[in-house]
């Protein structure tokens, strides 16, 4: 079994790839992992104890064809049974062209386009209603006049956010205008103005089988984060209502594939602020407490029976740390001149 995984940029702003690869290897050491990398210097390209072979890819913005051809080349030259994309920028292509991959004999396990659109912030209000949770007062704005009206109504501080990416806390009108311009320049419209809600940010990782069944859920609280807001230390929790919301989400939308829900929780009041239609970078945390979602997703992909129990203990901690790997520059040479690393031996 050979599985390609993207997001092997295991840096201070890590992609989920290494967590996914590590989860697969620990469950079944016979699985070969292929790293799909967008930069020759990605740490994953050098971590031969998790990634068996790496290939450099063109950016998704360059179109689907070069990526598809690269995957076909990998299949032909090394072998490839399944691919697990983990980065936001590449998901639209993979989701749109999942049938092409299937025809080429490369399996995926992804939501359909309709499900994928649920992540749009515009849709979170409706989803919250379906899941019977509250949703903060939110206004959709397209120009400065509408922005002014919206912030007057909502008051400061408020959150100014893009439909898919970026969110900033604005404390004044000039700040709100600044963020409005910054986000719309990069990501377009609409821009959303949202009231700030009280509570703790809690996250749930999960996966759905596409038929309404959950493949497992783990809820956590981030204890410390980097300046980019990425988890550094975290702890597992058991918030029954939150887990129920995640289960309802899988059931009601027949979600297919991995996901992460980001919520603000104030006792029993749950507010959904983001749906990420992929594994989060902390995916290995769930694996470490007994819910190996990458392996379960892979099992479902190949119609295998798998352990689908939701059991894990609360109060388990994840502690991220840094570690240095010393290697020879020959590996960089291979990647920089051939676009792929030598196949490493699986140690």
């Amino acid at each position: 079994m050979i599985v390609a995984i993207s997001g092997v940029n295991d840096t201070d702003n890590p992609g989920p790839g290494i967590g996914v690869a590590r989860s697969l290897k620990e469950a079944d050491s016979s699985i070969k992992t292929v790293g799909l990398s967008y930069d020759v210097q990605d740490p994953g390209n050098f971590m031969d104890f998790v990634i068996d072979k790496s290939y450099v890819l063109t950016y998704p913005s360059q179109g689907w064809e070069p990526i598809f051809n690269r995957l076909l080349y990998i299949k032909e030259s090394y072998g490839l049974d399944a691919v697990i994309p983990t980065l936001d920028a590449e998901l639209p292509s993979y989701i749109k062209y999942q049938d092409d991959l299937k025809e080429a004999g490369i399996k995926t396990f992804l939501p359909n386009l309709e499900q994928f659109e649920l992540r749009s912030k515009e849709n979170l209000g409706d989803i919250s209603e379906v899941l019977e949770i509250s949703y903060p007062k939110t206004k959709k704005v397209f120009n400065i006049d509408q922005l002014k009206k919206a912030v007057n109504e909502i008051g400061f501080p408020c959150v100014v956010k893009g439909n898919y990416y970026k969110a900033y806390k604005a404390k004044s009108l000039p700040e709100a205008v600044y963020y409005f311009t910054e986000i719309s320049n990069e990501w377009g419209f609409p821009i959303l103005v949202q009231e700030i809600v009280k509570g703790d940010e809690l996250n749930v990782i999960g996966a759905g089988d596409g038929k309404g069944n959950s493949l497992g859920l783990v809820a956590i609280k981030k204890m410390t984060t980097t300046h980019l807001g990425k988890i550094w230390n975290g702890v597992t929790i058991k918030h029954e209502k939150l887990l129920k919301v995640a289960e309802d989400f899988v059931g009601k939308y027949k979600w297919k594939g991995p996901f992460e829900l980001e919520c603000i929780v104030d006792e029993d009041n749950i507010i959904l602020i983001e749906i990420n239609p992929r594994f989060p970078a902390w995916v290995y945390f769930a694996t470490g407490v007994g819910v190996n979602l990458p392996k379960r997703v892979l099992d479902v992909m190949f119609d295998k029976n798998s352990d689908m129990s939701g059991d894990y203990e609360s109060g388990k901690m994840m502690v991220r740390y840094t570690y240095e790997l010393i290697t020879d520059i020959d590996k960089l040479s291979e990647l920089a001149t051939k676009g792929e690393s030598n196949g490493y031996k699986n140690l």
């Binding site: 930069d39 020759v40 450099v56 913005s61 689907w64 920028a89 292509s93 320049n185 990069e186 377009g188």
Partner: protein, 449 residues
């Protein structure tokens, strides 16, 4: 000793800003032919640069768009948007396929008439229609789409002059959830202005409202906006028929469908973000069926331009020089610039080579021949080392460039059409000095000896 194939010397620093320079991918994009004819041969015969249109591609695109609509809503008519590309040969292909003409100025109106299109087969749009042109259009039975109250006055005067009632349509604007809202054209629906215009026309008694028109924006990536547009238009139609008593014969939903071009500022590639023609057709026709009352189904007009022609047009340009810039990037100077590629300002084009070139790729910039710093066709592209005379094929460039290009310091180049049967036709000759000088008058006293 056998002579080896020369590869120009290339060295690239491995750094994260160009993490893939030097890596033997992306695979070079190669296009050797257009419409089955070798590009190199066309350049050899007709020179460089060259715009080349592929007739077969135009017809196939038109037919698939027509099929997408007519299979859902049979009473449909396309109007070729002249402003998108008014080369005679291009317009003629669309007219042969069954499209009528959609014009936005007296110049375009005259162009359509000159090509042999009858007045009744011309849709006359635009915010300014000179009085004389309104007289001509009314006489010849064109579909006149009114943009302002002033134009209602003008047309009533024309009706008096001609001594007959003139059938007209009005241009509408509305909120379809799209920003910017094109509110400066026509009459607003939500504010009641549109209904006021209808009543004003009725009260005048000299014009007869037969159609409703709108155009909600350009390069629309959200097909659903058309559903909102069509719904609002049909509801207005229902109201007009019921309350004012005009019979609406047609609804013109305009154009704005995107082509497979890569908008600057949008990360995802066009094949991911651009809706298919079926998405657009489904949005529009489903709104028609959901909102039309009774049994009369108005004719649906479409004015899509870019979607039909953009991908059938290519610009072939040749490398004339290359140099290393102080930031270590390479600059290629080519013989076509942004004066020919107006759409450069919002697209990152697809750029292909006409031959495989061995060697590693390096970051490069493609500059046109103008003496202007803005003459940049691509500011960051990975290319193997090109030699003088190597050709770049730039696409899609079929929409708007031929109509918005500028005669700035250079002559505009030849335009070719590769026909369906594989012949190469010259459809616009290269400009020469007399084309430009003919319009100039040098006063006697300024004549130099």
């Amino acid at each position: 000793m056998a002579i080896k194939t020369y590869e120009k010397p290339t060295i690239i620093k491995v750094e994260s800003s160009h993490s893939k320079a030097g890596v033997p991918m992306p695979k070079q994009k190669i296009r050797k032919k257009i419409g089955g004819v070798a590009i190199d041969e066309m350049v050899e015969r007709f020179g460089s640069p060259l715009f080349i249109f592929d007739e077969k591609a135009i017809r196939e695109k038109y037919r698939s768009a027509y099929e997408a609509f007519s299979s859902r809503y049979p009473n449909v008519q396309f109007g070729w948007s002249y402003k998108t590309n008014y080369l005679k040969a291009v317009c003629a292909v669309f007219h042969q396929e069954g499209a009528i003409a959609e014009v936005v100025s007296e110049f375009e109106y005259e162009k359509a008439r000159e090509l042999g299109i009858e007045g009744k087969d011309i849709i006359y749009n635009g915010p300014y229609k000179p009085y004389d042109s309104l007289v001509t259009a009314a006489k010849e039975g064109a579909k006149i789409h009114i943009d302002t109250f002033d134009e209602i006055n003008d047309l009533e005067k024309v009706a008096d002059e001609l001594g007959s009632e003139i059938p007209v349509a009005i241009r509408l604007n509305m909120d379809t959830g799209i920003y910017p809202q094109w509110s400066r054209f026509g009459f607003n629906i939500e504010s009641g202005q549109a209904m006021d215009a209808v009543k004003r026309i009725k009260a005048g008694g000299k014009l007869r409202l037969t159609g409703l028109h709108a155009h909600i924006g350009t390069f629309m990536l959200d097909a659903n906006a058309y559903k909102v547009e069509t719904t609002k238009m049909v509801r207005l139609m229902n109201e007009v028929e019921e309350k004012v008593g005009f019979t609406i014969e047609y609804i013109d939903v305009g154009g704005g469908f995107a082509s497979k071009n890569h908008l600057r500022g949008i990360y995802q590639p066009p094949e991911v973000v651009v809706p298919t023609i079926d998405d657009y057709a489904e949005a529009i026709t489903s709104a028609l069926y959901e909102n039309i009352r009774g049994n009369s189904y108005p004719k649906l007009y479409l004015e899509t331009g870019r979607h039909l022609i953009d991908e059938a047009g290519y610009l072939v340009t040749s490398v004339v020089a290359s140099k290393t810039l102080p930031d270590s990037r390479r600059s290629y100077i080519v013989d076509a610039g942004v004066n020919l590629l107006y759409t450069y300002f919002w697209y990152k084009f697809n750029i292909e080579l006409t031959r495989e070139i061995s060697g590693i790729s390096e970051p490069a910039m493609i500059n046109g021949p103008l003496c202007m710093n803005i003459d940049v066709i691509d500011e960051s592209i990975l290319l193997p080392r090109l030699r003088r005379g190597d050709k770049l094929v730039i696409s899609p460039v079929g929409a708007y460039n031929i109509t918005q290009w500028m005669q700035f310091i250079r002559y505009r180049p030849r335009v070719l059409m590769v026909t369906e049967d594989g012949n190469v036709e010259l459809i616009r000759e290269r400009e020469e000095l007399s084309d430009i000088e003919n319009r100039e008058i040098l006063p006697e006293k300024l004549k130099l000896k």
